[in-house]
Amino acid sequence: MPDIIDFRTDPSHYRHWRVEYDGDIANLYMDVDEDGGLFDGYQLKLNSYDLGVDIELADVVQRMRFEHPEVKVVVMQSGKDNVFCAGANIRMLGGAAHAHKVNFCKFTNETRNTFEAAEADSGQKYIAAVKGACAGGGYELALACNHIMLTDDSSSSVALPEVPLLAVLPGTGGLTRVTDKRKVRRDLADVFCSIEEGVKGKRATEWRLVDEVVPNSKFADAVQARAKEFAAASPKNAPEKGIALDPLNRTIGEDGSVTYSLVEVAVERDGRRATITLHGPDGDAPADAAALTALGDRSYFLRLARELDDAILHLRLNEMELGLLAFRSQGDAAKVLAEEKLLFDNADHWLANEILQYWKRVMKRIDVTSRSLVAFVENGSCFAGMLAEVLFAVDRTYMMEGDFEGDNRPVASITLSQANFGPFPMANDLTRLETRFLGEPERVEAAKEQIGEALEAFDANELGLVTYAFDDVDWEDEVRIFLEERASFSPDALTGMEANLRFAGPETMETRIFGRLTAWQNWIFQRPNAVGEDGALQRYGTGVRGQYNMQRV
């Protein structure tokens, strides 16, 4: 077992995936190494996956965007003969602690979302070319692709066998995408989700489970032809080459603190919290898109996004007891705004676009992080525009008001920009400010009028942008009391409360996946029928069936 789960990887370290680039088409092969499980005690047979497999997939998708922007179509397929993917590894799930299962599912959900969105966000369309068994999480992988092709060899099928086989749910978006995305009729969906062996051939298209079924002898050709057709139809103005994403430099201290170039994570174990400091730019913004491209992964927001993303994932998986994440920032707000202006001014440039889209994903990653989230807007901070978005992602914001004794940093302020009014929607498709002011839409307008103003505590408070503003007299005590109080509550209750309060407003497929489906799955993951000693997950593979308490709850 690894000491910590490391989310940093690159193609030279892949054990489970490989990509063959062919002009504007990339062939992505899933070929899971049976013996390459992240933990001991299970083998990743039949292209089943664990977190380690998904970490690589997330890396593939990310690099596809930044390193291979020339790609317009990605064909996801199996590198194995008779199986596309058998889904999440059951023995891994059976053996994993509840917290790991939940984090695993969350990360896989995020990864599914990112390649599903790649067509709209990055002009990279994913085709699932399904040959062989495609069950459970395997079909969920395919469901998140933009187009599903199934071979008609009279044995390849798609299936969601979780309920009959394992007494859990197709919880990685499976149930939701079947109804909301593929719009399968609910009664047929009910049948589909109750049969272990799934649906094959023509019926799979009739039931809308796949987009097309192709004769087996023509399958490979049909897939490549479809890929070419999609690539030709793509409106993407693709550059010839991308930029390199070099390995992130990260140092982990003995106390668990983590240091990157722009992000620092300080750990306070007694208080069960981590403080994440975001630093402003250390230089001037590049002059134009060409200069941005030349900077590549050293450009400010890309570096910040990568580091912050890694920090959040690291804390989620490796620091389960740090129940509260506090965000602060230090730096020059004007420089932050200059960096983002370059991105917005060049939003039709591929790299600027990718960086903005990535920031959107990182903000969403924060939204669904099951920790208490708080931001401290202190003197010397640089919460402006894109960085200010963090303030509206967290559960509460505390802001310093006026001069503090012995503190010669610039007085705390917040500056809004266009970044806070559209480009970074939450899962509910609203901006964070729209969600915040769901009952008072006029407040969004009022805030919009303040774009570009450095808003100090009084104004920020008036506008409803912060929870509390405290001066030198009260600050320290109020913050301390809040942190202590928060640390005393039940983590379960907090997780539930926060998740419910964060996503006001309309439901989308994404909110249904993260909210409903995940919550139901996590409930089932606690129930003896699934995870008890005699439950289906524990007994899977022994030949003995799960024993169920037949009472409906």
């Binding site: 047979k45 008609d152 060899d153 009279s154 044995s155 009959p164 049969i195 272990e196 062996e197 004769p215 087996n216 002898s217 899977y540 593979g541 022994t542 030949g543 003995v544 069936r545």
Partner: protein
């Protein structure tokens, strides 16, 4: 009252399951029938279809006299649906329902599992006919030609048996699966057969004999374990299929034995003692023993792959459900539940082969495979007796189960036939001595010329000791229709 021993011929489909009063199933089977006949007619070369073949046809399920022999044109063969007689008060022999009354209807919770098992078994039956379709053109004798066709029509009947179960007990899904059994075809790019060994070619008669000896024996073991099923109609179906299957393995064992016999006799006659004096032996028009051993290595290992992974959830589920038992389940002296029991299987750890105890339930496949190996070694011993009698110093043997495997813990690793782990270079160097080469194939192919004169045999194979149905040596087993 149904006559369950004697077969009724009052429908298009001979049967002892009362089809004429089961309109629903009869209709379904009659609908399926033309597709089957098309499949058969497309498959077997026309001049053989028109020939009269001395075949046995099952006319009863009474073990004392179940078959009758006569000349039949194969398309007119009466493919019937025959179940062994019901055993009164039969109980489920194993798993969590052990001791309960056997199911006469499909239990809902095991419907999918049962259907899958029946489909997999059913898929192998027509597959071997497809694999063997061209062999008639190079038959070494009319006797062997007749045996080939006998095996073929019976595999066809086994397909019928499985299709009957699908139609009778599995509703619409069952009918679709039955149609798919005719859609898939061996080696097809479009829709291949489900199991690897059934998509391999049977290029020559020695392969056919090896196939019927080793691969039909896998079929036998599968049927034996399905004959233990708590689902009584499946059990009865398989029990009857086993009576026919015995002949297939007889064809295999005697076919290989006669090939060996011809080789040894020719060597003795020519005064050749060294079994490795390949060129001299081959010049006699017989197949040298080392090449026969290579064929054995190939077919035995392909057949081992049919048993699946060493540790298998599906097999465990099926056993525990009482859907599939072990070989001779009722004669095994234990609680037939296997909770807490272990079984030793091969595993590969730190670069070494090791024996490892695993829960017995998950090792059901391995136990069956071990039974298979024991069963298969009998004939090998008898082949060696033939060699021994001629005084030639050579022994056939089963290779180690790690050799040439594509499924299970040994897959992707290189072993020699003794189970020694090899480097790539060592393996490449040894391969020509262990598995048939293309050159071996060419040589065997050169011997494959048809001999259609009654009582005559190709040079490479000895005549049988006794004829089928005790017929004399020059009996015309097939009256060839030569258009």
């Amino acid at each position: 009252m149904l006559d369950l021993i004697n077969v009724s011929y009052d429908t298009q489909i001979p049967n002892n399951v009362g089809l004429s009063s089961d309109k629903r199933v009869l209709k379904a089977l009659e609908k399926w029938h033309p597709g089957y006949i098309n499949w058969w007619n497309d498959l077997i070369p026309d001049n053989f279809q028109q020939s009269l073949v001395y075949l046995r046809t099952a006319v009863s399920v009474d073990p004392k006299g179940w078959a009758k022999f006569d000349y039949v044109k194969m398309p007119e063969y009466r493919w019937g649906v025959l179940l062994a007689p019901q055993v009164e008060d039969r109980t489920i022999p194993c798993g969590e329902h052990a001791g309960e009354a056997a199911w006469q209807e499909v239990p809902g919770e095991y419907r999918a599992m049962l259907r899958r098992l029946i489909v997999i078994q059913g898929d192998t039956e027509p597959a071997s006919v497809e694999q063997q379709r061209f062999l008639g053109k190079t038959a070494p004798s009319l006797y062997d030609l007749r045996n080939l066709f006998q095996v073929n029509v019976e595999e066809g009947r086994h397909l019928w048996a499985m299709v009957y179960l699908l139609h009778k007990y599995f509703g619409r899904d069952g009918r679709e699966e039955a149609d798919d059994l005719l859609r898939r075809s061996s080696g097809s790019e479009e829709a291949p057969r489900m199991l690897g060994a059934f998509n391999e070619e049977t290029p020559d008669w020695l392969s056919f004999f090896m196939f019927t000896y080793f691969t039909d024996r896998d079929g036998k073991m599968q049927l034996e374990s399905l004959a233990q099923s708590g689902f009584d109609p499946l059990s009865r179906t398989c029990r009857f299929m086993l009576t026919e299957e015995a002949h297939h393995m007889f064809v295999g064992e005697t076919g290989v034995g006669r090939t060996i016999q011809a080789t040894c006799e020719a060597m003795v006659k020519a005064g050749i003692e060294d079994p490795y004096d390949t060129d001299a032996i081959r010049a006699l028009g017989v197949i040298d023993l080392p090449t026969i051993q290579k064929k054995l290595n190939l077919h035995y290992t392909l057949s081992l792959d049919l048993f699946g992974q060493e540790v298998s959830t599906n097999a465990a589920n099926a056993f525990n459900a009482g859907i599939k038992g072990r070989y001779m389940e009722s004669r095994i002296d234990d609680d037939h539940k296997l909770h807490g029991d272990t079984y030793e299987v091969w595993d590969f750890e730190d670069g070494k082969l090791v024996r490892k105890e695993v829960p017995a339930l998950t090792a059901i496949n391995m136990r069956l495979r071990d039974d298979y190996t024991r069963d298969a070694s009998g004939g090998v011993g008898r082949w060696n007796k033939i060699i021994e009698k001629t005084g030639i110093d050579f022994q056939m043997k089963l290779p180690h189960e790690s050799f040439n495997r594509k499924i299970g813990v040994f897959a992707d690793k290189l072993f020699d036939p003794d189970g020694k782990l090899l480097t790539g270079a060592e393996y490449d160097a040894g391969m020509p001595d262990w598995l048939p080469t293309h050159a071996d194939g060419d040589f065997i192919q050169s011997l494959m010329v048809p001999v259609y004169e009654p009582g005559q045999y190709a040079s490479w194979i000895a005549p049988p000791k006794v004829g089928i149905d005790n017929k004399p040596g020059d009996f015309e087993y097939v009256k060839l229709h030569m258009a």
